[in-house]
Structures are given as structure tokens and as C-alpha cells.
Amino acid sequence: MKTGPSPGRWLTLALMILALSACAVPEPPPPWRPAETTAPSQGDSLTVITGEADVEARRQALVQGENAVDADAAGYFMDVFQARVRRDLSDTGIMIDYLDQSVLITFPNQIGFESGSAQLTLEARALIDRLAAVLKEYRATLIVVSGHTDNVGDPRFNLKLSERRAHSVARHLVGSGINHARLLIQGFGSERPVADNTSEQGRARNRRVELMLQLLVRDRPSQPTESENA
């Protein structure tokens, strides 16, 4: 069982950064260019991953930590988390799927990004701030941010774009106070469509950033954390 970032993952990150810097941006210039660059910087400690093994490794590292939830409180955590999300995020237009021990949050791109850009819109920033406020309290989650595109255009470009968009979201979460250790980033390009790419509607649905929140359940027996007051 690994207890920290594996050398393999660092290698991956290094490779990806290398690839990014090597790749010219082929898209037409956006209407306005923000002052800050949307390219991932190397200083934010965010981890770009390539597969499930990376997720599992990070999960294993975190479940032993103080933020993980005891097994007997896992169901409770999921329920109260869901209640909190319903209260604070149900009016935002993001899609939320409650799974057994995870929650899938989907940002449609029309909320988050200008076309072809990894630059977050103001609306998306506000939204992510609200999400971060919830995630700050509900710390027993690992957050895998993944970007997705439709199948139009150059697949390599799409892959890069999706990863950059995921990165933007993750970085904003860090900026809003989420510990970077809880965050993983992955770009899928058009690899994982959720809808039919032959229609405009379907393509719009495929352009998205997903946040898979995975519950971190501690596997050692729980200990009382509080003594009764009053």
C-alpha cells in the first residue's frame, strides 16, 4: 500500500508538462485574452493523472488521514453531504449524481468556459467558490477533476484542452481553500462521451468538466471524537 505520491505519477506529470510546453496552441485567438495564462503552471502542486491506478494510489494515501470518515459514519456522511449540496448548489445548473460512495458533479462547458478556451468564466468562478465552501466542510472526499470535449477538431488538441480545463477548475478550487492533496486532474478529450456526438445537443453535453467526489472511508475502527457538552 502506497502512502505518498508514487514516482510513476511524478513522471507522468513531468511528461505531460513537457508535452504541453511542446505543443503550440492551434486554436484561433479568443475574443479577448486574459492577462494570466491558462496554461498549467508548475507551481500549483496539482497532479495530472492518466488512469484509475493513480486515483487508487491517492485514495489509499488519504484514507489513513484525519479527514477520512469512519466506516460507520459513511452513510451518514453521504446523506448529509447530499442534503448540503441540495441546499447550496441545486439552483446552479450543474448536474449532480449521487452514487453509492461518490458524487459526480458535472459542469457543462456553456457555464464554465468560452469556446476553445480553458479560461473560467466569472459565473464558473462564483460557482466553484460555492462548491469549495461545501467541500471545505466535507473533507472526507477525494476530488478527481476530469475534462471532456466533443469529437470535433483535432483529438490531440481536444485532449490538451480538456486537461487544461480540468486544471483550471482544480486550481480555482485550490484558490478557494481546498487542499491540493484532495485533487487529481485528468483530461479525456473526446474519449468518454456521455451523449451522441452527431447532434449539436449531444456534443454540447459531451463538452464538460466532471468532478468525481470519492468518499474517503477510514478502514480502521472509529474512535469517539467528541465528548458531550452541556
Binding site: A73, F77, R86, T225, E226, E228, N229
Partner: protein, 519 residues
């Protein structure tokens, strides 16, 4: 009704049914009333419980909302004091907690050392309110608590305290909120779920109990299921049901007793009449009919007289209608006729000028039997039909060609036909033209009027004129004074009868009277 004993049996049976039906109806009505009264009580109780429950839940939600917006630094003494005050001011609130995610950081209240984190919430509302209905997972210190959390605060309620046992009056009650059982008293009891019960009160015969389901709650659905054993229910209403039912039954019994007594007397009278007819105890008596001008006896109205063995006489006004009602009319007439014919046979020297007027009942003309028997009997006693006049009431002549034919036949045989009690029956006089008749008997009431009013009575004159016009002879009935006799004689009325001449006489009396007159 051939046999009186059978008739009594039928009447008794009818009486039994007559008793049972209203009795069952009465008991059923009392039962329904009782159930309705109980249902009203249960509805009241249930609505009270539903309102209490709803109030407690709404109050809890409001409390959580307030706590969330109050700007306490979490778990500071001020915060804890506020939590404690809120908890203590609500009887059913056992604890209030402050949470972050799945960690209870601090709280106030009476749930000792418990950090209840049930695995599955009963409800997660879009508002962000989340609730756990009482279950094993919410049990602390032997109490299954109702938990509600909103934001960072939660409240633990003891649902037992939503029901005040004093209200229940011995019933077992369960309160269901949004289709889930919230509270029950006594807690250990197992209640039927509301959706397997009809709304309102129902009798659960299998378990010998009365069950009710009442829906209440204005903000969210609350159902109250109440169960009480049949014995408890019966204890409460026994006096009412038995008192009311008893009085009702006594009244029904009294009423039926009266009816039964009346019927059995009628029936026994009927059977006595039948016996009297069979044994010849009904015999003929005679009221002389005289020719008014000369005072000569020209005939007699034959009347039945029923004298019981003990000597009591029963009035014809009772037994004639009774005989007709019992279908004995023709037998009665024939029995009187028999008595008359035997009398005539025993008095052969009486000359042929005496015409005997026999009263017919309605049944005599309705069936062919009378006419046939009349002919046979006259034949047997060798009596000419001319000597027997037949008196028919207006009522018997009302309709039907058949009766008209029979009357015509009798007349053809030689019987003279008289209309009895003329003027008292029906107003339509059309029968006077349709039927072939000989004599019209003016009823006693018209003759009576001669005494009370002016002698030139305008009532009786038209009858006389009518008879004249139809070429009918007239017999005036009920003449009681010489003035009446004189007046009628003066108007040319041929014959008459009444106390002025003679009351009805028995066989020997009539014979004597006749011989005396003839002398």
C-alpha cells in the same frame, strides 16, 4: 287461512319477523351511531395528535434554521448556552448538536455521549433538511429518536413525548408522518400501517379490535392509527347500547304484543264465526215489512243473528263485515237461508204473500256458488223463487257485466231484486239503468230526517221521484213514528219497516206477530 291454528302460526311467525326486523334495525342503528360517536372522538384525538406532531416538526425545523443563521463562533460557551436553552425549552427535544460534515463537534442536551450517525436517512429534502425517522439506528438510551439536521445543526427528538398518554383514554396510538411511523404508544405495540386501513373507523374482527385511521397535517401528510380492543370499546358504550337497545326492544315488544292481541282476537272471533256457521248457531230473525196503506204484513227482512252458547249475542255489525273479510260471506248467507227455509218448512200454512228479503254479501254475487246453492236449496225445500227477494247493496253492483248477468239470471228465476240502503253507497246512479231491479229500499238515515226536519223534506222526495221514474217499488227502512209512516204513505210509498211496526223477531215471535196482525 284454512285452519285457525295454521293462521295463528302464520301470524306468530309474522310477529316474530315483525319483531326481529325492527329489533335488528334498531340495534344496527344504535351500533352505527355508537361507531360514529367513537369515530368522532377518534377523529378529534387524531387531529390533536397530528397537530402536536406537525407543530413539533415545524418548530424543530425553524429552530435549526435560526441556529444556522445566528453568528455564534461554533462551540463557544455562548453557542453552547444557546443550544442548551433551546433544548431545555422544548419538552420533546433531547439534544441539539453542532456538526461539521459527519463530526459532531459539540452540543447540548440529554443524549449522553452519543454521536448518532445512522447509515441511511429517511428523507433528504431539496431544502437541505435531512431527517431520520425513529429506528434502531437512531436509538440512544433505549429511546428511538427522531433526528433532523439542517446545515450544521441537528436536533434529536423523543417521539414518545409527542403523544400524551392521558389523551388516549386506553387506546393504542401510532402517528405516521409522510408514510413512516414516527411515534407510538405503547412503543412495543405493532400497528397496522395506514395504507392497509380504510380512512375512518373499521372493525377488525380477526383481532377483536376497533381500528381507525385519520389523516391530518396541513404541511405534510400525517396519519394517526388508533387501536382499541373491542372490550374497551364495549365497556365505554355498553350502558348506552344496552340502555337504548333495551328500551327500544321493550317498545317494539309492547307494540307487537298489542298488534298480536288484536290479531289473535280477530282470528279467534273469525274461527268462532266459522264454527257458528258450521254448527248452525247463526239463525234467521225477521223484521216485518208492511204495506203502508193497509198495515198488512207483506214480507220480512231476514237477518242473521249469532248467539253464542253462553247466551251472548254478537251484533251483525261485527260479524257480517268479519265474515266478508274472512271470505265466509257466502257461507253466512247460505246458513241464514238454511235457517229461513227450515222455518218456512215448519210453517206450511203461511200463505204465499209473505216475501222474505235475504241480504246478500258482495261475495255472493262475485262467485257462481251462491246462485247454484240457492237454486238447489229452494228446490230441496220446494220453495218458489218468488218468495225470496234478494237485497243487494249498491256497492255489490258497482261494476262488471258478469255480476249484471248473475243478477239478471236470479231475477229471471223469479227472485225480486231490491237495492238495499239506497243513497248511502255511491253517487253514480248509472247502475239503476244498467241492472234490472224491482225494489228500492230507502235507507234509514233519510227516513230519520223526516223527524228532525220539516215534513216536506227535500232529501227524500227526489229518491221517491227517481224510483217512480224508474218504475221501482219503494220500501222505507227504519220507520219509527206514525208521522213518518203517514208522510210516506201520503207520498205513495208502498211498503215500509221499522220499530214503529216491529223490531226484528225470532222465528216464533214473527209467527205470533203475523198471526196477530192477520187476525
Amino acid at each position: 287461512m284454512g285452519n285457525p291454528r295454521n293462521a295463528l302460526l302464520v301470524v306468530s311467525l309474522a310477529g316474530a319477523i315483525g319483531f326481529a326486523l325492527p329489533a335488528v334495525l334498531l340495534l344496527w342503528v344504535i351500533w352505527q351511531q355508537t361507531l360514529m360517536a367513537e369515530e368522532q372522538r377518534l377523529i378529534q384525538l387524531s387531529e390533536d395528535l397530528a397537530a402536536q406532531t406537525e407543530h413539533a416538526i415545524v418548530d424543530a425545523r425553524t429552530l435549526l434554521e435560526d441556529l444556522n443563521v445566528q453568528a455564534f463562533e461554533p462551540c463557544t460557551p455562548d453557542h453552547l448556552l444557546a443550544l442548551q436553552n433551546e433544548a431545555l425549552s422544548r419538552i420533546h427535544v433531547r439534544a441539539i448538536g453542532y456538526w461539521q460534515a459527519a463530526n459532531r463537534l459539540c452540543g447540548a442536551g440529554l443524549v449522553q455521549g452519543q454521536r448518532l450517525t445512522p447509515a441511511r436517512a429517511s428523507r433528504i429534502y431539496d431544502s437541505g433538511v435531512i431527517a431520520w425517522w425513529p429506528s434502531a439506528a437512531t436509538t440512544a438510551g433505549d429511546v428511538a429518536l427522531f433526528l433532523m439536521r439542517f446545515g450544521n445543526h441537528d436536533v434529536a427528538m423523543d417521539p414518545r413525548l409527542l403523544i400524551t398518554p392521558g389523551q388516549l383514554d386506553g387506546k393504542q396510538v401510532a402517528v405516521w408522518v409522510e408514510g413512516l411511523q414516527m411515534a407510538a404508544y405503547p412503543e412495543a405495540s405493532v400497528f397496522p400501517t395506514p395504507n392497509e386501513l380504510p380512512e375512518g373507523l373499521s372493525v377488525d374482527q380477526a383481532n377483536n379490535r376497533i381500528v381507525s385511521r385519520v389523516s391530518g397535517g396541513s404541511l405534510f401528510p400525517i396519519e394517526v392509527v388508533a387501536v382499541q380492543s373491542f372490550d374497551d370499546f364495549w365497556d365505554r358504550y355498553r350502558v348506552l347500547v344496552m340502555g337504548g337497545g333495551g328500551i327500544g326492544l321493550v317498545l317494539i315488544a309492547l307494540w307487537l304484543g298489542l298488534v298480536w292481541r288484536y290479531l289473535s282476537r280477530q282470528l279467534s272471533l273469525q274461527s268462532s264465526l266459522r264454527a257458528a256457521i258450521d254448527t248452525g248457531r247463526i239463525h234467521a230473525v225477521y223484521q216485518p215489512i208492511v204495506e203502508l196503506r193497509s198495515g198488512r204484513c207483506v214480507g220480512a227482512e231476514v237477518l242473521g243473528r249469532w248467539t253464542e252458547k253462553n247466551g251472548t249475542a254478537i251484533s251483525p255489525e261485527i260479524f257480517v263485515p268479519l265474515a266478508e273479510k274472512a271470505g265466509l260471506g257466502t257461507r253466512l248467507t247460505l246458513s241464514i237461508l238454511d235457517s229461513l227455509l227450515r222455518h218456512m218448512a215448519s210453517w206450511p200454512e203461511s200463505d204465499g204473500e209473505i216475501v222474505y228479503h235475504l241480504n246478500l254479501t258482495e261475495q255472493d254475487l262475485a262467485q257462481p256458488r251462491f246462485s247454484r246453492r240457492l237454486a238447489e236449496m229452494l228446490d230441496h225445500y220446494e220453495v218458489a223463487a218468488e218468495r225470496i227477494a234478494l237485497e243487494i247493496t249498491e256497492r255489490a253492483l258497482l261494476d262488471s257485466d258478469l255480476i249484471r248477468q248473475r243478477v239478471a239470471q236470479l231475477r229471471e228465476r223469479g227472485h225480486s231484486i231490491a237495492i238495499d240502503d239506497f243513497g248511502t253507497g255511491y253517487s253514480s246512479l248509472s247502475y239503476l239503468q244498467k241492472f234490472e231491479l224491482d225494489t228500492l229500499k230507502i235507507d234509514k238515515t233519510f227516513v230519520d230526517s223526516l223527524q228532525t226536519e220539516a215534513v216536506t223534506s227535500s232529501v227524500i222526495q227526489p229518491i221517491i221521484d227517481l224510483a217512480r221514474a224508474l218504475d221501482l217499488e219503494i220500501i222505507a227502512e227504519g220507520i219509527e213514528s206514525s208521522e213518518q209512516a203517514q208522510w210516506l204513505t201520503g207520498r205513495g210509498v208502498e211498503r215500509g219497516q221499522g220499530y214503529w211496526y216491529s223490531p226484528a223477531l225470532d222465528e216464533s215471535g214473527f209467527k205470533a206477530w203475523y198471526l196477530d196482525k192477520a187476525r
